[in-house]
Structure formats: structure tokens, C-alpha cells
């Protein structure tokens, strides 16, 4: 197949012809046509729920279109992932789709295990997998089960899998959501390289800078409908955002928050845990403290150990409750004393996807809903209603299963869970990962409002602009230690990155 690769750069490889996809009543994709040419990097943007993933899933044969067809080299391909793969279409899914218990090599070769005389040839498998990893310039122990790997590494393994298929069309659905800036740059370099070599690449991201630095053309989807397709050269980020949200978005620019920090509310001393080596940290009332660093630096581990979510091997944590310092022994104690935690793995740890929005929101607020431990669905829905409006859930249907909502909306629900408690402290781990610009702006607003109301906020983010915009102070973590601390004014992307990577020592008070 890939012998035609070199031929006809710029010719249309894959074409979606007036695709419509309905899920029951809901229209996810509405009569959308797109086409991708060899050698180009083609961007697909839109808010959460715009239909990007659904459309891509249809191209990759994971979903059947309700109407319309997918053409490769002008001829329709039959449905099913197999057919799509054989036609040279490889999709890197938005949700990690790896088998935790299988090794890196097996995951890369999943579905195409090389066999020798009927039995799997481990040697071959390691060879191809190794080649694929080398192709993307990442080296990992091929025999490590992926369950042991970091989120970011898993992302690269997914990409390696796609590359190993020797695709002609490579589709990446928000691949950078779990990556740090450096890793993102690295990935983008790689994509350009692959494109130069004649691949057709479809790239989905909520991060416009990436789009503008990398892509050739961009299509905007809104509510499942095709809004516009432009050459990147002919548009600007603001124009793009307007097309995405459908109206003039009120943009929150570097509004240097007038933060007047109060007393230290959350105080951690000498926290140690696996991959965390003695971290001290204070968060004051009304202050937003950011934790920067590379994926794998141990930020998540630190906060999880600090809050008692995971086992803390050493150190101790106190929180200021009505003028008294309370020691936090267990995670439940933390919650009891008004600490809220928005975990990194939204779908796994943050939400019960098969339960309704109101169920999810009511859970941490059990104590305040009803009295004497007695509650009811009606009470819970009544309680959830206003919170859902506060975070701007769309659609604001508290009876709907959380699983039916798209990424950004799910994150809003996770935050809404905690607002009801009027928390003293809120800890957010990658709060806007995979969240669209609109929702992202709203979440930022929420976080800042919380701070303004005197909540002590601790944010982990691998999204530097976000970290810089939100944080009053940034602690940069490297290898489980604080590598440096930057005040708002002393902080910029470079200083953070250099601390994170440990290239040189930038310090400021």
C-alpha cells in the first residue's frame, strides 16, 4: 500500500463525504465533509462536544456513520476498524486505549502480533515495536507493563502503535493533552517530519498555539456542524476562537489578579512518598499556588501523598480551621476539614460515569443535603441545580449520566462536586486537560473566584500559559523535590522550564 506514498504529494488521500452521526436522538456530527491530502498536517478544532472525536472515530472505522461515506483514494472503504487499518488509517484515541497488563511491545503491536509458524514471535514483536519507538525517538523498556508507565509515556506508546501500522493517514485526537510543553514541542517536530515524509496527518487540539505553529489547514466544527475550513496562513487565533464559540468570546487576558493573601491555611512539611522526597509547602487564604514541572516529576504523587489519597511515608500536614491548626491524618480528615481535590484522572477517579450528574455532585455534600443522614434524589437534584449553573454545564441536565457528557463538561461536574462544600482549600491536578477554550476560560474564572472568596488554591498544570496566568506563586517540582519557587512577576515560560528541566538554576523570591 505505502508504495504509493511518495507519489502525488498533495493529492487527497481520505475524504469524509457528508457524514452524519446520531446517537439515538442526539446529533453528534451533522452532514460534515472534510478531505485530507498527503503531506499536510490538517487541524480539527471545536469546543468540547463539537464532534471532533466522533468524526475521527468514523474515519477510523470505530463508529458507523448514520449517513455519508468515507472514501480512500476516491473509493469507499467498508466499515470496521480492520478495513480502516488495512486502508492505512491509524487513529490515536483521545482516551488512552492501552491494555494495562500487557507489555509496551505487545501494546504497540496489539491486533497485529507477528507470528511464526502459528505462534507469536516475541523476537519479531520486540523488533517491530523497537523500530516504532525509535521512529518516534522514545526509548522505553519493551517488556514493562504499561500499567507501570506515566500518563505521558502511555501517550507516546499510543503514537508508536499508530506509526507501527505504517499508516498513510495518521489521526491524533488531543495527543498533547497529557504532555508537557517540551514533550509537546518534541511531538510536533515529529509530526512535521512524518508529514514531510508524505503522511497525511489529522491533528486535534484545544491548544491554538500548537495549531498555528504546526498545521497547514484547519477546519472548525461547532455542535457537530462544519463551520469553516481555512489555510492557517489566512486566519488568526482570535478569529478561530470566534468561529469555535460562535460569538465574540469575552477573553480573560493576563488580568493580574489583585490577590491579598491571608494566613497560611494549608501547610505541608517534609512530605515524603514514593517518588516524593521531602517537600514543604504553604498555601495562604486567597492565594493561588501553582505546581510546575515535567510530567513524571512527581507533582501528582506529592499532592496525593499530602492529602492522604496515597500512602504518605513521612511529613505532616495541617490546615487552619477557625483559627486552630488541625493535623490531617487521613484523606477523609482532609475532606472533613474542607479540603477539596480534583484528581488528574477525571474519568477514572473523579466521576461515577454510570451515575447521574446530581448523584456525583451530591456525594461529597452528603452531610449538608437533607439531615440526619437522610436524603433523596429530589433533594440531591435541587442541591445540584445551582452548582451546575455556576460551573456552566451544558446541557445543564442534572438527571443525565455523567458518562454522556464530553470531556470539558465532565471536568465542570468534578469541580461542581466541591463547590457545595465552600472548601477552605482546593487542590486541582491538571484541571483543564482536554478542555476546550470556552470551558477552560470558565474553569479559570471559577478558580480565580474561589481564590477571591478566600479559598486557598493549589494547582498542578503542565500547561504553562495556564500556570502563569493563574498562579500567584509557582513552585517547580523536579524529581520529587522543589527545584525552585517563582513569584508571579519573576515567572515566565523559560524560567519555569529551565527549573523543571534542571538546566540552570533560576531563583527569585
Amino acid at each position: 500500500m505505502s508504495d504509493e506514498l511518495s507519489s502525488a504529494v498533495g493529492a487527497v488521500v481520505i475524504e469524509a463525504v457528508s457524514i452524519t452521526k446520531r446517537f439515538g436522538g442526539a446529533v453528534a456530527v451533522d452532514d460534515v465533509s472534510v478531505s485530507v491530502r498527503t503531506g499536510e498536517i490538517y487541524a480539527l478544532v471545536g469546543e468540547n462536544g463539537a464532534g471532533k472525536s466522533t468524526l475521527m472515530r468514523i474515519l477510523a472505522g470505530v463508529l458507523e456513520p448514520t449517513e455519508g461515506s468515507v472514501l480512500v483514494d476516491g473509493s469507499p472503504i467498508e466499515s470496521g476498524t480492520r478495513a480502516a487499518l488495512d486502508a492505512g488509517i491509524a487513529l490515536v484515541h483521545q482516551e488512552l486505549s492501552l491494555v494495562p497488563e500487557m507489555t509496551v511491545a505487545e501494546n504497540i503491536m496489539l491486533g497485529t502480533f507477528p507470528t511464526r509458524g502459528g505462534t507469536i514471535s516475541r523476537k519479531e514483536m520486540r523488533r517491530y515495536a523497537g523500530a516504532a519507538l525509535q521512529e518516534i525517538g522514545v526509548s522505553i523498556d519493551l517488556d514493562e507493563p504499561v500499567s507501570r508507565l506515566s500518563v505521558s509515556l502511555r501517550q507516546f506508546i499510543e503514537i508508536a502503535r499508530a506509526v507501527a501500522r505504517k499508516p498513510r493517514v495518521l489521526i491524533l485526537d488531543e495527543p498533547t493533552a497529557t504532555l508537557t510543553p517540551a514533550e509537546t514541542d518534541y511531538l510536533l517536530q515529529m509530526l512535521k517530519r512524518l508529514a514531510r515524509a508524505g503522511l497525511a496527518i489529522v491533528y486535534i487540539s484545544h491548544r491554538l498555539p500548537e495549531i498555528f505553529s504546526t498545521c497547514d489547514r484547519v477546519t472548525v466544527l461547532r455542535d457537530g456542524r462544519h463551520v469553516d475550513t481555512m489555510d492557517i496562513a489566512d486566519t488568526t487565533p482570535d478569529a478561530l476562537v470566534d468561529k469555535m464559540v460562535g460569538s465574540e468570546l469575552k477573553r480573560v487576558h493576563q488580568t493580574a489578579r489583585e490577590s491579598s493573601p491571608g494566613d497560611v491555611v494549608l501547610s505541608a512539611r517534609g512530605i515524603t512518598a514514593p517518588r516524593v522526597h521531602g517537600i514543604d509547602l504553604d498555601v495562604r487564604a486567597g492565594e493561588i499556588v501553582g505546581l510546575g514541572g515535567l510530567v513524571g516529576a512527581g507533582r501528582s504523587e506529592f499532592v496525593r501523598a499530602m492529602l492522604g489519597v496515597d500512602l504518605r511515608t513521612g511529613g505532616d500536614v495541617t490546615v487552619l480551621v477557625d483559627g486552630r491548626r488541625r493535623r490531617i491524618g487521613s484523606y477523609q480528615a482532609a475532606v472533613r476539614h474542607g479540603i477539596a481535590f480534583v484528581p488528574e484522572e477525571r474519568r477514572q477517579d473523579g466521576l461515577a460515569l454510570t451515575m447521574s450528574v446530581s448523584d456525583n455532585i451530591a456525594l461529597p455534600n452528603r452531610g449538608t443535603i437533607g439531615r440526619g443522614g437522610v436524603t433523596s434524589a429530589a433533594k440531591q437534584q435541587a442541591f445540584a441545580g445551582p452548582l451546575v449553573d455556576t460551573v456552566g454545564l451544558r446541557p445543564p441536565d442534572v438527571k443525565r449520566d455523567v458518562g454522556d457528557y464530553s470531556g470539558g463538561n465532565q471536568q465542570k461536574v468534578v469541580i461542581a462536586k466541591w463547590l457545595g462544600l465552600r472548601p477552605r482549600v482546593i487542590v486541582l491536578d491538571e484541571p483543564t486537560r482536554g478542555v476546550d477554550v470556552g470551558a477552560k476560560a470558565e474553569i479559570h474564572r471559577l478558580v480565580q473566584e474561589l481564590a477571591d472568596e478566600g479559598t486557598a488554591v493549589l494547582v498542578i498544570s503542565s500547561d504553562l500559559p495556564e500556570l502563569l496566568e493563574l498562579s500567584d506563586v509557582i513552585h517547580v517540582i523536579r524529581d520529587g523535590r522543589i527545584a525552585g519557587t517563582l513569584a508571579r512577576d519573576g515567572a515566565d515560560e523559560r524560567s519555569v522550564m529551565s527549573l523543571a528541566a534542571g538546566e540552570s538554576m533560576v531563583t527569585s523570591s
Binding site: L85, L110, G111, F113, E135, L153, K166, R324
Partner: protein, 381 residues
């Protein structure tokens, strides 16, 4: 086709390979993207990691304990190993098939009933060969029905097979008119219970063969290995183009056929079909699999583990019988050992110590009045 895809030259096609520029080099290292290969430490270190990936730990531990205890109390268990082996085969054969289904993240509660029905059907004819064939056909049929409900209708296997548990048992009673059916060719049936290979009876030989076949299938054969993907992350398996439904059908059929085979073997060894037999099969099989480290959530475990589980249970039972301890006390003992086995699993101990330590911390120092010492800036010198 697949093979074709993978006959790649070391230089992957389509992409120009150029030595990665420095920048990228340290990009990949300096940003924690690179670890693993290079970080592979000493032999011991490597060994530890390989062991860390095994799922049979608990089974091995239990087996060790059992063997030590038994060797001290009742060496006869070993000197009369054919007896012990056939008890192990009795406990373990169905468990092997069940493991296949569990690895796919499904369950089959109907195995015991399948075995019973197969036996009863087998006894309907005088010709043993035909009978065994019929029995195995019952297995195939049951497997297909289970798979149909799980895949086509889309109800989960726990329920579908719970229903089948009742249906098949009922059919066995109906067909047999709720009475044991003696086999015609009793002399053959009896000889079937006698050793054929050295001291090993057909039951043991078949058990060993089934173990080997399944072990190879799940570790070496592509379709078999893909069962782990089906159980570990079904969506991923689908996305990767694995024919998940076909794998599921295979799994259910394999499991049911093995159960039916076990039913046929039992019927032969007893020289009669018994519609009320197999009361202990289902739970014993589950016990063997789970002790062996097979996770009911799928994707994790091994046939080897199940074998180890079966050996532990079988040996323990025989040993206890020989000690002649009162039956009730034997039961208490077996229960206790099982409970211990699952509770002393490393993961379990970790979970327990975690909740213990946190709750202890919760107790001491409910509140303290101290100002936080100013955060000394942890910047490196």
C-alpha cells in the same frame, strides 16, 4: 496480511531516517520521556521486575505452605501421588476452562451444570464414542448460547450464565428423569478409571494435556494472547482491530467444551451419569482460579496460576482426608486457608496497612496549636 505489514526493513518505510539532532536527543532524555531500557539495572534487579510482573505469587505462597504442612503430616500424599493427582485433576479441569473466560473479563457460572447435562446426555446412548461426542456437542452448544446472549443480546455473562446454571441443571434432571443412568458398556467405563500412562489415569493425562494446550494457546498463539486484550481493555482491543466478538465466542465455547469433557470423564469414571452431581465443581473451580491470581475483572492472570491453585486445593483436601480429622474441622481448616490466602496477597496487605496507618494517624493528634515554621525555600544551592 498482518505478516506482510510487519515484514518491515529496519528502516521503517515511508519515513526518511536521519540521525536525530542533538536538540531532540536531550529533549527526549531531559524530559523524563526516556526511562526503562537505560535504567535497567543489575540482573537481580531485572529478575525482581520480571517476578513483579507475574500474577501467581499468592498461589505459589499458598502451595508452598500446603506442601510443607502436608509433607510433615501425611507423606502418603506424595508416595500415593497418582491419587493426589487425580484429585487435583478432578478439582482443576473445569477451572482451566473457566480461566479462559475470566481472563476475557467474563464469567461462566454454568460450568457445573454443563458438566452434569453433558454426562446425562452421554448416557443416553450405549456407544461410548458417540456418547462422548454428544457430550462435547452439548459443550459446544452451551458455549454458543452463552456467547449469543453476551454478544448479540448484550446481557452480561454473569447473568446469562447464572440463568444457564438453572436451565441446564433442570434439563439434566428432566432428561435423566432425576435418576442416575448407568452406562451400558460398564467394563470400558471401569477400565477408563485405571492407569494408562505409567501410573496416570486418563483423567490425569487429559488434564495435563488440556493444561499444556491452553497454556501454549494463551501465551504463544496470537488469538489466545489477544484474550488478554479483550479482558484488559475491550475498547482498545476493538480499536486495534481485534475481532473481539469472535474471541469471546471462542472463549465461551472452549470453557463449556472443557466443562462438558469433565462431565464425560466423571460419568465414565463413575460408570453412571448422575443428574445431581457436581455440586462442588463451580465454587472449587473459582477458588482454584482466584487463588492462582486470576482477576475476576479480566486481563490479569494465567493458566499456570490456576494449575497452582488446583494443586494447592487438591493436595490440601487429600492431606486432610488422610489425617482423618473430623470432617467439620477439615472444612473449617480449608475455609481458613482460603481466607488467609486471599487476605495475605501482597496487594491486600498493602491495602490493609494503608487504611490502618491512615486511621492511626487520624487518631493521634486530632488537633494541634502550632504555627507553621516558615517554608525554607527548597531551591538547590
Amino acid at each position: 496480511m498482518a505478516a506482510g505489514r510487519h515484514r518491515i526493513p529496519d528502516r521503517p518505510r515511508g519515513v526518511r531516517r536521519r540521525p536525530r539532532p542533538e536538540s531532540e536527543q536531550d529533549m527526549s532524555t531531559s524530559h523524563g520521556v526516556t526511562f526503562g531500557d537505560d535504567s535497567v539495572g543489575t540482573r537481580a534487579d531485572q529478575l525482581r521486575r520480571t517476578l513483579g510482573r507475574r500474577t501467581e505469587g499468592r498461589g505459589v505462597a499458598l502451595l508452598a505452605v500446603v506442601l510443607v504442612v502436608v509433607v510433615i503430616l501425611e507423606p502418603l500424599v506424595f508416595s500415593a501421588y497418582p491419587v493426589t493427582l487425580s484429585r487435583i485433576a478432578l478439582v482443576g479441569l473445569v477451572a482451566l476452562g473457566l480461566t479462559v473466560v475470566i481472563l476475557m473479563g467474563e464469567l461462566d457460572l454454568s460450568v457445573a451444570s454443563t458438566a452434569v447435562l453433558a454426562g446425562v446426555v452421554m448416557a443416553q446412548t450405549d456407544n461410548i464414542a458417540v456418547g462422548v461426542l454428544l457430550a462435547l456437542l452439548v459443550g459446544v452448544a452451551v458455549g454458543l448460547v452463552n456467547a449469543f446472549f453476551v454478544i448479540k443480546v448484550g446481557i452480561n455473562s454473569f447473568i446469562a450464565t447464572l440463568g444457564m446454571l438453572f436451565v441446564l441443571r433442570g434439563l439434566a434432571i428432566v432428561v435423566s428423569n432425576s435418576e442416575p443412568i448407568p452406562l451400558e458398556n460398564i467394563s470400558f467405563a471401569i477400565s477408563f478409571g485405571l492407569p494408562i500412562v505409567g501410573p496416570l489415569t486418563p483423567r490425569i493425562v487429559i488434564f495435563i494435556l488440556v493444561f499444556l494446550v491452553l497454556h501454549l494457546f494463551l501465551t504463544r498463539v496470537r488469538a489466545g494472547r489477544e484474550f488478554y486484550a479483550v479482558g484488559g481493555n475491550r475498547q482498545a482491543a476493538r480499536d486495534a482491530g481485534i475481532p473481539v466478538d469472535r474471541r469471546l465466542v471462542t472463549g465461551f465455547v472452549v470453557c463449556s467444551v472443557i466443562a462438558a469433557g469433565a462431565g464425560a470423564i466423571n460419568t465414565l469414571e463413575r460408570t453412571a451419569a448422575d443428574p445431581t452431581s457436581g455440586s462442588t465443581v463451580l465454587l472449587a473451580s473459582f477458588a482454584a482460579a482466584i487463588i492462582g491470581g486470576v482477576a475476576l475483572t479480566g486481563g490479569r492472570g494465567s493458566i499456570l496460576g490456576t494449575l497452582i491453585g488446583a494443586i494447592s486445593l487438591g493436595t490440601l483436601e487429600v492431606g486432610l482426608t488422610l489425617t482423618g480429622v473430623q470432617v467439620d474441622i477439615q472444612q473449617i481448616f480449608i475455609g481458613g486457608v482460603l481466607l488467609l490466602a486471599v487476605m495475605t496477597d501482597p496487594a491486600s496487605l498493602r491495602a490493609a496497612s494503608f487504611s490502618l496507618r491512615t486511621s492511626l494517624r487520624g487518631l493521634r493528634g486530632r488537633s494541634t496549636d502550632r504555627e507553621p515554621t516558615p517554608s525554607h525555600d527548597a531551591t538547590a544551592p
